[in-house]
């Protein structure tokens, strides 16, 4: 499970810094065209939640 989270966060960061996300156009907040800032903040929150899950697993194993 810890490895899945580790790989997941690497893939998520890879996606965020790919031309696909960096090239997001400005737009209204819809699922079809989310603005760059919204996607960035959302990605940060998801990374934080993944880290929290990873920390819980690490503490359990300790």
């Amino acid at each position: 499970m810890k490895k899945i989270i580790d790989i997941g966060v690497v893939l998520l960061c890879g996606a965020v810094y790919s031309p696909l996300i960096v090239g997001l156009p400005d737009g209204e907040l819809t699922l079809a065209s989310p603005p760059l800032l919204f996607v960035g903040v959302l990605a940060s929150l998801v990374i934080l939640l993944m880290l929290a899950a990873r920390v819980v697993l690490e503490r359990r194993d300790q």
């Binding site: 810094y17 760059l36 940060s44 880290l51 990873r54 920390v55």
Partner: protein, 468 residues
């Protein structure tokens, strides 16, 4: 505002004095306690100290200005990166702290010496951190000094403020060592957090809320809401290279590894990592508001004038005074940690007798580096964030070598340190304009970081005793 400023400065200096006295009492006369806090410190203190060191004037001054000039992509540049950094603290910190416990090393220099069996990797590491961190310390001091000059009555030069801050840092570092710095970082980090939220709240309220502010920004300049931003800086290569170089910071920057080393044990690392990520999120979110408020109100002002107005002049006197103290605290919390860590690593790396650390030697080195940084602060004129980024990228090049030493067992070859040295040289020449900044369309810094990481990983995989 002057009255409030005097009160806040007095309280701030008194708190620093109390911290230094308390630290001196706890340290005793043990040099390892003074320099490395060997017996360990509480995680709550260390994570706040880590955060205060990380989020410096770069955060309170540089990032809002970056949002103002380069727009929403700044969040990818710093927000996503600093939250993701928690994973690096976790992965690296767990292993590094176990090695400290098992092998009795207290610094990266000692670890490199032990793993590579040579002084060469230590010199490469010291060159990397001295060359690229000293200008960063200098620009922290310079940024705040210049702002204080703009705000103070005419005739008080920036060098006066720089000397005042460096003297204060020197005094409490001298008295209380690493512990005093960590305690003062806690005060400075909390002041920074309070200031940044109060300023952002005041600005959002006057703009009619965050949504209204974002709409105003979009109407003012739609390019601010997309990458690469109005100036064209935020390309995916720039953002990716920045992401990689900032992620290396907990590994390569001695003021951060010192805090990982000062934990009570590996069990403390996961909580520390999560706390750092959470702190990163809550301290960076308000910078969006401050930056975009500046983009709407002051799109054409210079950085210094914009910051002076938005952080101080436009605020209520009590908040403006608190912001000035927050800026001083932000600069000092980073500068003190970096000066002390540079000195500690310098002494640990260059001493000839294993285990011998002189607290007086470290203190003298702190004074020496402080003078060097003061001179640099008089000469430097580059933009805060971009110089900081060069500093992060430069130190990132030695990162794979440190990770290789941390995760491997037994004696390692000198190939990675030699490669790191060549890459440092290429990066320095590229930064100075002697060599090009791109090669076949790829940024040189990104290429060098990928090359050193790939070679380091390859060596780890083929190393016969890689499992720790």
């Amino acid at each position: 505002m002057t009255g409030w400023l005097a009160v806040f400065l007095f309280v701030y200096v008194v708190l620093l004095a109390i911290n230094a006295r308390q630290a001196k009492r706890e340290n005793g006369s043990d040099a390892h306690e003074i320099v490395f806090a060997r017996s360990g410190m509480r995680t709550s203190l260390l994570f706040l100290s880590f955060a205060a060191t990380l989020f410096s004037t770069f955060t309170l001054m540089g990032i809002p200005d970056f949002f103002r000039i380069h727009g929403a992509a700044t969040w990818l540049f710093i927000g996503v990166t600093d939250v993701a950094m928690g994973f690096v603290v976790l992965w690296f910190g767990l292993r590094y702290r176990k090695i400290i416990e098992r092998e009795g090393v207290f610094s990266v220099s000692e670890l490199l010496n032990k793993r590579f069996g040579s002084a060469l990797p230590v010199y490469v590491y010291l060159i990397g951190i001295f060359v690229f961190l000293a200008p960063y310390v200098a620009i922290q001091i310079q940024g705040v000094s210049q702002l204080l000059t703009v705000l103070s009555p005419a005739g008080v030069p920036a060098w006066f403020w720089a000397i005042c801050m460096l003297l204060l840092i020197g005094v409490y570092s001298w008295i209380g060592g690493l512990r005093a710095i960590v305690y003062s970082d806690v005060v400075q980090g909390l002041v920074l957090l309070a200031v940044i939220w109060l300023v952002a709240h005041a600005l959002a309220s006057s703009a009619g809320g965050v949504s209204a502010l974002l709409s105003q920004t979009r109407n003012m300049s739609p390019a601010l809401m997309t990458a690469p931003g109005p100036a064209g800086l935020m390309t995916w290569q720039f953002l990716l290279a920045s992401f990689v170089s900032i992620l290396w910071m907990p590994v390569t920057q001695p003021q951060l590894t010192a805090r990982i080393a000062a934990t009570k044990g590996p069990r403390e690392i996961p909580i520390m990592a999560l706390s750092i990520s959470f702190f990163a999120l809550i301290i960076l979110l308000p910078t969006i508001v401050i930056g975009f408020a500046g983009a709407v109100a002051y799109p054409d002002l210079s950085s210094g004038e914009f910051l002076a107005r938005i952080l101080v002049v436009d605020q209520a006197p009590v908040l403006g005074a608190l912001a000035i103290v927050g800026l001083i605290a932000a600069a000092m919390s980073t500068a003190d940690s970096q000066l002390f860590a540079l000195s500690a690593e310098g002494q640990a790396g260059l001493r000839r007798t294993e285990g011998a650390i002189s607290s007086v030697g470290v203190r003298i080195l702190v004074a020496f580096f402080a003078i060097g940084c003061f001179v640099l602060s008089l000469l430097t004129s580059s933009e805060l964030v971009l110089l900081a980024r060069v500093s992060f990228a430069g130190t990132a090049i030695v990162g794979p070598m440190i990770v290789l030493a941390t995760f491997s067992e037994g004696r390692l070859s000198l190939f990675s340190p030699c490669l790191a040295f060549v890459c440092l040289l290429v990066f320095a020449l590229s930064t100075l304009g002697v060599l090009p900044t791109t090669f076949s369309g790829v940024r040189v810094d990104l290429a060098l970081m990928l090359i050193t990481a790939f070679i380091g990983f390859a060596e780890y995989r083929i190393h016969p005793r890689r499992r720790g």
